[in-house]
Structures are given as C-alpha cells and as structure tokens.
C-alpha cells in the first residue's frame, strides 16, 4: 500500500523531471477519454504472462508517445493538422462560432488560426490547469479560450493605440498565418472606424479618407521606387547563380552609381545649366581630334567639363544668379550630403552587422545561418553543399590542429608575416616615389610646350602617368595575393583583411602622392595656365584609363584565367570572382570622382557611363568565366568593411583635398568662377558683406561671423563632441560588461536547471531504493529526511507480522477460531501500518510536495483505512456468515472514490492526473466487477473478484511510470498478493457457506505467508 499511494509523487517527480520544459507546452493535450485502451491487451498479456520489464517499458513509452503526439498537434504552427480527437476538435470549433465579431470576415477563432504568440502564452497558462480530469476539461478549455481572447484583445488594444504606420508594421510582423493577420487587420480597421464615428462625422470621414489616401500614396511611392530600381532581374540571376557574397559587389556598384547620378544631376542643373543659359556659345579653339576622349585635353579643355570654363559673373534674368556662389555651394552641399549618406549607411551597417558578432560560433553559423536561400541554380547548390562539407570537415580538423602549433612554427609564421609586410610596404613606397618622379618629369615636359595646342604626340604623352598608376594598381595587388598565399593564416577572415589593408595602403599612397603633386606643384605654376583645369584633366585621364584597366583586369583575371583553368591546367578550374579586389577598384574609382568634382564638375557623367558599362561587363564576365566562390565569407561584414573603407580613408581624403583647395589655395587668376579671389572661400565672405545691405538678413551675418568664422566655436564643438564620444564609449563598455553578466546568468540558469533535473532524478531513483532497503537498514539511509519513514514502515511491518503470527498461533492452538481476536489483531496491524504509511507520506511530502497534497492524501488514507477496516470486517463476517458481501465492495469503491477525490486535489501535474484517472477507472471497473460478481454468486467468486481487483490495481499501478527498482518491488509484492489472493480463492471454495473462521484463518495464513515473502522481497 505504501507504494500504491506514494506512487503519485513519484509520478509527479518523474514527469517534472523528464518533461519539465515540454510539460508547459503539452498542457493542452486533448483529453484522452481512454488513452490506454489500445494498450490494454498487451498489458494484460504482459501482466498475466511473464510480468516482465518489457510490459512496463511498453506502457511507459506509450505514455510518452502520447504526450509527444499531443504536443505535435498543438505546435505545428500555422498549419496544424486537425486534432485526431474529433469530438474535442469539433466542440472547439463550435465554441468558436460565437466568438466571431460581426466585422470579422473569417471563421475559426482559435484552434488552427491561433497565433503562435497567443498559442505560446496559452501553453504556458495551461500548466496552471493541470486537472485534466473529465470534469475539469471544460473548465480548462474555457480558460484557454478566455486566455486567448484576452491575449487577442490585448493585442488589439496595443494595435489600436498605435499610429497607422506602426500598426501596419506591427501587423506585418505578427508571426501568424496570413488569414489571422488579415482578420486582425480588419478588426483594427473596423475598430478605428467605430472610434471615428463617435467624432463629428464629416471630420471622421475626412480623416479616414486622408489616412487611406496617404497609405495608398505611400504604396504608390514604393511601387514607383521599385519601378525605378535598376537591374532587378540581373541581380536576381546573379544572386541565384553565385550567392549573396558575389552579389555584394554588384549592389555596391549600383549604390555608387546612384551616388554619381545624384551628383551629376545636382552639378548639371545648378552649375552647368545656368552657365549654358547665360552663355551658350562656349567654343573651343581646337578642333575635335578623337584623342580627347582618352586624354580629356585639347577640345575639351575649354568646355563646361572643367573648372576653367565657368564664369564668375552674376546672371540677371529677372532674378540674380551668382555663378560663383552656385559653384561653391553646390559642391559643398553635395560633399556634405555624400558624407551624411555614407555615415548613415555605415552606422546602420555597423549596427546590424558588428554589434554582437561572435567569431567563436562558426559551426552553428555555418550550419544554421549560412545557407543561401536565394541560390537557385542546381549546379551552385551542389557545389555549395560540397563546399560546406569541406568547410565543416576543415573546421573539425582545425580545432584539433590548433593546439599542435609549436614555438618554432609560430616563430616561422611570424617571420613570414613580418617579411611580407616589409616587402609589401617597400613596394608601396617604391610605387609612390616612382609616381612622384614621373609626375615631376611630366611637369617639366609640359612646361616646355608653352601655351597653345599641343601636338597629338604630346597629348598622348600625358597618358603616361595614368597608365603607370593603373598598371601599378593592377599588378601590385597580384604580388600581394602571392604573399598572401605564402603566409599562413589561422582563419580565412584575417587573410582577406590583410589583403584588403595592403591594397588600401597602396591606393592611398598613390592617390596621396598625386594629390600632393597637384596641390603643391601644379597649383604654383605660371598664372597664365588654368591649373584647376589641368588637375581636372589629369583626373579625367585617371578615370578613363582606370576604366580600361578594369576591363583588362576582367579580361586577364577572369577570361584568360578561365581559358587556362579549363583548357590548359584542368586542375585549376575556372576562376572565382574576387569580390574584395573588385570592390577596392570601385572604391578607388569613386575616390577619383570625388576629388575631381571640384576641378571637373561634370566628371560624374563619365563615372556614370563607366559604372554602367562596368556593370554589364562584369556581369557577362562573371557568368561566362567564373564559378561560385568556394568560401562563402561573411558577406554582410565584408560589405560593412567596404562601406567603412569608402568612408574613412577615401571619402575623408577626398573631402579634405577639396576643402584644402578651396580654403587655402590660390585659384587661377584668369579662368574659372573664382578668378580674382585669393581663395575660393572668399566668395562667401564677399556675399556676406553684400548681405549687410539687405534688411532682415542680420541672422545670416551673425551666423557667419560667430559660427563659421569663429575658432572658439569649433573649439567648443570639438570639446563637446569629444566629451560625448567619451561618454558613449563608457556606455558601451558598461553595456559590454552587462552583456557579459547576462550571458553568465543565462549559463548559470541553464546549469541550475540541469542541476535541479539531476536532483529530481536522483530523488526519484533513490526513493524505491529506500523502499527496498527499509526492512533491512532503515537507519542507515543516506538522506536523513527519508531515514525516519523507513523506520516507521519497518515498525509497522513488524507489528503486522506479529499480529499475523499471533493470529496464526491462535488458529493453530485453538480449534475453535476466535474470529474477533484475529480480525482485531489484523485490524491493529493494519492500523499500525497505516500510521506508518502516513508517516511515510508525511516524509515524502516534506521532501518535495506542497502541504495541501499531504493533507489531502492523509484524508484519502483515512478514508481508505476506514474502508479497508470495513472491508476486513466484512471479510471476516463474510467468512462467518456470507451475509452482506455487497457492503464490502461498496465500501471499497467508496474508499477508492474518496481517495481519488483526495488525490485529485493533491495531484500536481496533469500527467499524473491522467495516470490517476486511468487508475481510478481501472479500480472502479474492478470494484464494479467485484460488486457484480459478488451479487451474482457471492460465495465462490468473491475471492476471484479480489484477485481481479488486485489485477486491476496492478494494471493501474503498472501505468505509473517508475524506476526499475520500484517496479521490482511492486512486482514482488504484487506476486505475493496475487498468490495470496489465489490461495484465498483456492481456500474459500473448499469451505463453503458453513466453514467460517477456519477458512479465514487459512486465508490469513496464506496471506501472512505471502506477506512474509513480500517482506523478504524487500
């Protein structure tokens, strides 16, 4: 009996431990009316047959299976398959019908369309209603539904309180099926219109209409923007074939193209168009010869292409238009806008891609995040699969390799790194120096020409410098990648970054040298020449030659490499598209355009043309020659790095050069918009002075004097910015610490959880051991809390044995049996045992169950005890007279019911409830059978009924999952009791009606024997 009632606790613990997490979710398991019905034959077979472990295992598995299945139905998300328990499902649906709001177009509120979010909450709440007994199911179901309605209403409230834009965003972000989203949207709209109708009707209508109008306008704008989107189909094709890392290049190209289009539009409309309107006959003295397209000199020299052709006058066509100011402000505003756009995209990109990047989690990333869903070509898919496999294998072996690096090896690696850095720096310095001397040589050459048109050959000579520059840009990176191959890098990323840094270094130094030459030598030339136009021409040449070299680069780098790879050296295979190199080329080209914008305002038009052609060229070259990249680096991070590079050395460099030119250098005296001024910036000064005369413009003057021209202002601003930066830096440090702490906390909680699970499991497995040990060494148990109970049980058992022995001696010694004494002895024994059991329960409860369950259980125990007492009396009476067998059975069933009720209250988890339910059912069945049988033929079959009841009980007990030790004990006991029952049954028919006490004594003897066996079993 001990284990009978304490099983419930075991169960709870078991369930908690194994399915602690799932439990919350599996709460809405449909009520199984008879979930174990299917298993019944098996169980009976197993029970009556071998009583083997397998039967236990089978039922155990069944239970888990069932729970998992239940969970599956619930969590399938948007497309949950219909519940297999149809009646339940139907009822659910039927209930939904009156949940519909009139405005809701779609049916079925809950089950299938239930949102995951709501569902998740419902799951969690479910665990609060563990009483899954038939009576409770309705309650629970209502509770869930209410819960969900509440949640939905909360959601609605949330949504309604938002602004229209936020609403749309929130609705889109709901993780639910489309139908549910639509329904919620309709509800929100309906609610809004209801709310509006309380206001003045005309106003409501108006605002409704305007909001609809604005929404539609927004959508139309988006449509229009999409229609303007360039190369959508090509992008998709490239992404599908080569994946997103290659696509990065094309996105970048497109982005730069947009920059240039903007700059061209601005420059053309604010600088060029007014000039053309004012003075449409700018004619060149030199005829067009064709070479100008390459050199930008000759015919182009005096066109609107360059700085020199622009006028410094003020147009007077009704309104005044100062060309000087227009030139200055257009370029300044464009540069500032570019800077802002770059900073914003860089910041957002950093925010997205670099905030929490954790380089450690490579495998998880490779497996779960790296698959490119946009890839659509079969070849690429198979190749990617192969690559991923290779990478995974590498990462597995890398981990093993890393620790094996010895000191000499490390030294060797370090030496190689050092050497390659040294060599590449030397190369860069050499290049820069040679470019500088080449420029000086060219300058001397030019100065000999004198003014006027140069010959074709002289003009062609100007291409020398850009040619050398582009050649260096093409060839030196090849050396860099050669070094890169020789070096040993621990990971792919640092390899790429080293390469990128060296290339940036090269390009920066070349550009730096060129700028130095322009600023310090060209600008100081004879004032007769327009030095800005000369710089503009030089930049034009660089842009054009760079374009040709990029084409050559894709011809050699991709086409020839492909021919070699596929025809000559098959081992090499087709080349990969080198994203880093190509993007750096783009950045370099864009920097040229930015520097050139001051000297040649229409340079962006050349740049647009260049990028446009480059896009198609690269696309064709890519699809014809290249294979998808073998290593899929972290494309998003690379993109961020590229934007950063574009901003930091290159754009900042360009803007400082333009700024330096306009602030500090003397503009040419004979040409250009700023002729006659000391600096280009003086134009603003003059303008401000002119403003003095105009009334109402004092604020502009004040701003100019106190902000733009005041050092103290910049000083203060710098201080403030530094201070703010420091504060933010400290904030970041604090956040980092916090993140670390929170991470630690998550880990700790995980540890706590696993520790608790272990503890529960230990407890659970130690408890049956206690049971087995209790008769042997109750005191010596490890856990003091459990020590007492085994002792109590032992005492009880001893008392009982004593009583039974007494009984036996009575029956032996005296021929006329003393009914009352035996039964009373037995009663005493039972009582003692019960007390012991209660103590046991008590202890168990104190170990882990809430007090309420204790009292409930003890109540149950009392009821049971009473019932058993009655039953015993009945039995004894039965033995004597066979008068009222029905009372006994009814008492039993009463007791069982009482106990069930109590246990129902006590039970903690729903799973346990189910088991209990099943058990109750079984027991009730048994009880009923007993009653039936006893009513029909009281004398003979009562014992068999007992056996049946025992079996039923066994069956019930079988359903309780427990540890194997416990099972063994139970089996032993059950065996004993069954035997007892059988013997009893065996005995009773032999002594029919009249034979009273002796039969009972015999039965008792048998029982005692069984009990002894049972005790031995411990």
């Amino acid at each position: 009996m001990t284990s009978y009632s304490s099983r419930g606790f075991f169960n709870a613990a078991y369930h908690d431990s194994e399915t602690l997490e799932m439990d919350r979710r599996s709460g809405t398991k449909p009520p199984h009316t008879n979930p174990y019905a299917r298993e019944e034959p098996v169980r009976w077979g197993g029970r009556l047959g071998g009583r083997d472990e397998a039967a236990w295992g089978a039922t155990d598995g069944g239970l888990q299976d069932e729970s998992r299945r239940g969970r599956d139905h619930i969590t399938t998300g948007a497309g949950a398959p219909p519940f297999p328990h149809q009646p339940y499902h139907n009822r659910f649906q039927a209930d939904n019908r009156y949940n519909q709001r009139p405005q809701a177009r779609l049916p079925s509120l809950v089950s299938d369309n239930m949102t995951m979010r709501l569902r998740g909450i419902a799951m969690r709440r479910m665990s609060m209603f563990p009483h899954a007994s038939p009576a409770d199911v309705d309650l629970t179901e209502n509770a869930i539904r209410e819960e969900m309605e509440n949640d939905e209403q909360n959601l609605m409230k949330e949504l309604v309180s938002m602004s229209t834009l936020e609403q749309t965003r929130a609705i889109r972000e709901l993780t639910m099926s489309f139908e549910a989203k639509k329904r919620i949207r309709n509800k929100v709209l309906a609610f809004r219109s209801v709310k509006k109708s309380h206001e003045f009707t005309w106003f409501a209508e108006l605002s409704e209409n305007t909001s609809l109008f604005f929404r539609r306008c927004g959508y139309t704008m988006r449509s229009a923007r999409q229609a303007l989107e360039l190369w959508h189909g090509i992008m998709k094709e490239i992404g599908g074939k080569f994946g997103s890392s290659v696509l990065t290049y094309f996105m970048f190209l497109k982005w730069l193209l947009l920059f240039n289009i903007f700059s061209f539009v601005v420059n053309f409309s604010f600088i060029t168009v007014p000039l053309l309107v004012y003075d449409p006959n700018i004619t060149s003295s030199v005829s067009f010869r064709g070479l100008e397209l390459l050199t930008g000199a000759g015919y182009f020299t005096h066109t609107v292409m360059y700085y020199g052709a622009y006028s410094n006058e003020t147009l007077k066509h009704g309104v005044e238009y100062n060309l000087q100011l227009a030139y200055f402000f257009t370029i300044a505003v464009y540069m500032v806008l570019c800077g802002i756009a770059l900073i914003f995209s860089m910041a957002s990109s950093f925010k997205k891609n670099f905030v929490l990047v954790d380089p450690a989690s490579t495998s998880a990333w490779q497996l779960l995040c790296s698959w490119d869903f946009s890839v659509t070509s079969e070849k690429t898919v198979t190749q990617r699969k192969n690559n991923l496999r290779v990478q995974l294998k590498e990462s597995l072996s890398e981990k093993a390799q890393q620790e094996l690096l010895t000191v000499p090896e490390k030294l060797k690696h370090f030496g190689i790194h050092f050497c390659s850095w040294l060599v590449s720096t030397a190369l860069v310095v050499g290049c820069a120096a040679s470019i500088f001397f080449l420029c000086q040589y060219e300058g001397k050459l030019f100065s000999q020409w004198g003014p006027g048109a140069a010959s074709l050959q002289q003009e062609a000579e100007t291409l020398l410098v850009p040619f050398m520059v582009s050649l260096m840009n093409l060839v030196i990176p090849l050396f860099f990648s050669l070094f890169n191959k020789l070096e040993h890098y621990s990971n792919n990323r640092s390899q790429i970054y080293t390469l990128v840094v060296r290339n940036v270094f090269l390009r920066m130094s070349i550009l730096g040298v060129l700028c130095y030459y322009w600023m310090n030598e060209v600008s100081l030339r004879s004032p007769s020449q327009c030095w800005e136009s000369m710089v503009g021409q030089a930049l034009y040449r660089l842009v054009i030659v760079d374009f040709f070299f990029q084409m050559l680069g894709s011809f050699f780098g991709e086409f020839l490499r492909n021919v070699i790879g596929t025809k000559l050296h098959r081992r090499l295979g087709p080349p990969e598209f080198d994203v880093a190199r190509n993007v750096l080329d783009l950045i370099y080209a864009q920097t040229l355009a930015w520097i050139g914008i001051y000297f040649s305002p229409l340079l962006p038009s050349i740049q647009i043309l260049k990028f446009f052609i480059l896009f198609y060229l690269k696309k064709v070259s890519l699809t014809q020659n290249c294979q998808p990249p073998r290593r899929t680096g972290r494309a998003a991070q690379m993109q961020t790095i590229f934007i950063f590079l574009l901003f930091f050395p290159f754009f900042v460099g360009a803007i400082s050069i333009v700024g330096y030119t306009s602030w500090s250098l003397n503009p040419s005296q004979n040409c250009g918009p700023f002729r006659g001024l000391n600096q280009a910036f003086s134009v603003v000064e003059i303008w401000i002075e002119g403003l003095h005369i105009l009334p109402g413009s004092g604020w502009a003057v004040w701003i100019y004097k106190n902000i733009i021209r005041s050092e103290i202002f910049y000083f203060l601003i710098t201080l403030i910015i530094l201070g703010v930066t420091y504060v933010f830096y400290q904030l970041i440090q604090g956040r980092k610490e916090l993140i670390g702490l929170l991470k630690q906390r998550i880990i700790n909680e995980g540890k706590d959880k696993s520790f608790l699970l272990d503890k529960i499991q230990n407890l659970q497995s130690s408890r049956p051991k206690k049971d087995t040990r209790q008769s042997k060494d109750g005191r010596s148990s490890h856990q003091p809390s459990l020590g007492g109970h085994s002792d109590a049980v032992r005492q009880a058992l001893l008392a009982r044995q004593q009583a039974e022995q007494e009984e036996a001696t009575y029956s032996d010694g005296v021929s006329v049996p003393a009914d009352i004494s035996t039964s009373s002895a037995l009663m005493q024994a039972m009582l003692a045992r019960q007390r012991a059991e209660r103590e046991t329960e008590d202890l168990y409860q104190r170990v882990e169950d809430p007090p309420s369950s204790f009292t409930a259980l003890s109540l149950a125990m009392e009821a049971r005890q009473r019932a058993e007492g009655e039953m015993l009396q009945d039995n004894s009476r039965e033995g004597d007279f066979y008068e009222n067998p029905t009372t006994a059975s009814s008492a039993v069933s009463q007791a069982i019911q009482a106990r069930l009720r109590a246990e129902e209250e006590a039970s903690a988890s729903s799973a346990m409830m189910q088991v209990m339910k099943a058990r109750q059912q079984a027991e009730q069945e048994a009880g009923m059978q007993w009653t039936d049988v006893q009513l029909q033929n009281p004398a003979v079959s009562s014992s068999s009924a007992v056996a049946q009841a025992m079996q039923a009980r066994l069956r019930a007990e079988e359903e309780l999952p427990a540890s194997s030790v416990m099972m063994q004990v139970m089996q032993a006991r059950q065996q004993a009791e069954q035997e007892a029952g059988m013997e009893w049954a065996h005995v009773q028919p032999q002594n029919p009606a009249a034979a009273g006490s002796s039969a009972l004594i015999q039965a008792m003897l048998a029982r005692q024997q069984a009990q002894n066996e049972y005790d031995d079993g411990y």
């Binding site: 997490e21 398959p81 993780t175 949207r185 997103s244 495998s363 698959w371 995974l392 294998k393 540890k751």
Partner: protein
Amino acid sequence: MGNKQSIFTAQQLDAYQDCTYFTRKEILRLFYRYRDLAPQLVPLDYTKQPDVKLPYELIGSMPELKDNPFRQRIAEVFSEDGEGNMSLDDFLDMFSVLSEMAPRDLKAYYAFKIYDFNNDDFICKSDLEKTLNKLTRSELTEDEVKMVCEKVMDEADLDNDGRLSLEDFQHMIVRAPDFLSTFHIRI
C-alpha cells in the same frame, strides 16, 4: 494595369499590402507567378476569394524553390494545412517573410520553424542532423555528423538544455548578420 481591378478588389489589395511587405505591383507579379504554376486551377478573378490550394508538388517545382534543400520544410511551415499545400495567401505570406523588407525577428522565427523538423518547438540534435544531411548530401560520416552537431549545440545552446530554443536561435542570428541577406528569396 487595367486588369488588376478584375483580379482583386481595391480592398483586397489594400489588405495584401497591409499584411505583407509587397507593393501592388509585386503582389500582382506574385499572383501571376502563382497562377503560372497551375493556370487551369487558379482563376483570374480573385474578388470572390475562391478556395484554391496548389499542392506541394507544384509549389516545390518553382524555380526559386526547386533546388532549395529545405523546400519541403518551407512549404510545410508556410502552408495552412502543414503539408505544403498553399493558397495564394500562404504563398504571399511565404515570399513576404522571405523578402528583403522583413525584419530579422520575423525571419528568425520562420527559419527556426523550418529547421525544427519534428515540430516540437526546439531544434534538437535530430533536427540538426537532418539539416546537416540536407546541406551536405549525407556525405559526412556518422561520427562527423555527431561532432558537428555537438559543436553547434556547444556554441548555440545558451541554457545547456541540450536543444536550441527559439531564444537561443535568435541569439545566434543576432550574432550572425549574414542571415538577413541569406534568408532571402528574390522574386
């Protein structure tokens, strides 16, 4: 543009635009893509909301999904019935989530569901093994599969319960920014 009125009502289009990340044009384009899968099944008039569902075989044969190792899971996750049979609404929803505009959390949620093969709301080892086998054509040895799965669990399982919950997964996604660009199907 005139015939779009006959396919959807203005209200329907508004609803679609409010619930997805698509513009009118894209919705129509997607509708035609959907219809092209089975012109005889899908009517050209959606104003009466016909109850049409295309079977998974047709959905999975789209060029965008055809070679995707997860195509079946994608279809299952986004379909109302969980078996990959999709109505137009499901279809739009799927591409909306996979579009560029969808926010990270939404994408992460559905990616999680896609990787959760046994629908138990956790990515457990068996799910990881399935993912791995799908991604590597089952060419890794059993030991390697086991090692990789253990490593992934090691790295991503924050609370040490031996499986990845949605929170674990989202945490990983935050640290793997490429996910946004890779969990993306252009239409």
